[in-house]
């Protein structure tokens, strides 16, 4: 499901794009798998986090990709703190 929400990319240098649930879902699953969570656990967590982020997006028609990361991290922390840590660290590792 794609919401009509514009995501402004990091630094505003790249064109904004439409929110894509699949993209967020894949990144949450990847974070869970990276901390060796089983796929059977990663998928429902990603669904729950995506639902929470979409609920938040319905009140915010224009957000940055970093806002999405912050909100997704906050919700992921409830389900899997270790995956949330790695998800949060992704942009600040190098």
């Amino acid at each position: 499901m794609d919401l009509s929400v514009d995501i402004i990319k990091r630094g505003g240098q790249r064109q904004s794009e439409r929110f894509m649930r699949e993209k967020l879902h894949a990144s949450i699953v990847a974070a869970c798998l990276s901390v060796r969570a089983p796929e059977g656990q990663a998928e429902p967590i990603a669904h729950a986090v995506c639902d929470s982020v979409i609920a938040w997006l319905q009140q915010h028609p224009e957000v940055t990709s970093s806002d999405i990361r912050i909100v997704a991290t906050k919700h992921l922390r409830i389900h899997h703190p270790e995956a949330a840590y790695l998800y949060e660290q992704h942009r600040i590792t190098i």
């Binding site: 990276s34 270790e82 790695l86 660290q89 190098i94």
Partner: protein, 245 residues
Amino acid sequence: MGKQENKKMDITSSLAIISLAALIHASFQLSVSVLTLLSGHSIGAKHSKVKLLRLTTSFVFGAGVMTILLLSFISLLLINIFGGDIPQIIWAAGCGLLFGMALAVWLFYYRHASGTTIWIPRAMADYLNRRTKLTKHSAESFALGLSSVIGEILFIIAPLFITALVLIQLPPMMQLLGIGIYSVISLISLIIVWLLIGIGYNLGKIQKWRESNKHFLQFSAGSGLLILAFFVYVTEIIGNSVGYK
């Protein structure tokens, strides 16, 4: 001892300098950061364990090859300029470089933010980030290993320079041994992370350890550079002045 022999560095202290310089090189973290990200992307993309190992092994191999190439290139450059007889001013410049770099590492190595972001040009960091995400094949991973060493050249240039100065004064066989010792020791941190990933260790724990100990690593690298500067100054400049060598 003859005059010519006096000019040659004592092999033991030469290898000690090379080992310390390599250990300092190993404490710099860009390649480890890239390897951690690369593994994260690979595990997240549900690649098989064999593919993960192939990618990480190629990465470590690439970082090793670039270290050997850089060290050999700097040594060749110095041997073409000075031959085997290094002027004291060059040793003094090397010590100055180590001292300056020690202060720079203490003050600036990590950015003042959470995470493990370091003071390299942001364009380089973004490029490495993008490339890490796109890396799917061993050859790309190998190239990423090469690039990650280049990305940290600002910091590793000081230990590489001093190692090259020491190497060109050694007999040919010892030069090869010196290059081998430097390469292996400088890759130690990468090899440890590679092993941990290989046995299925949690990436989150690796990154958490790196973040919690980043100031310790920063302090160690800076202190190591300072100790190396002092050691080289004593053996090469004071030692020559008082006729010890």
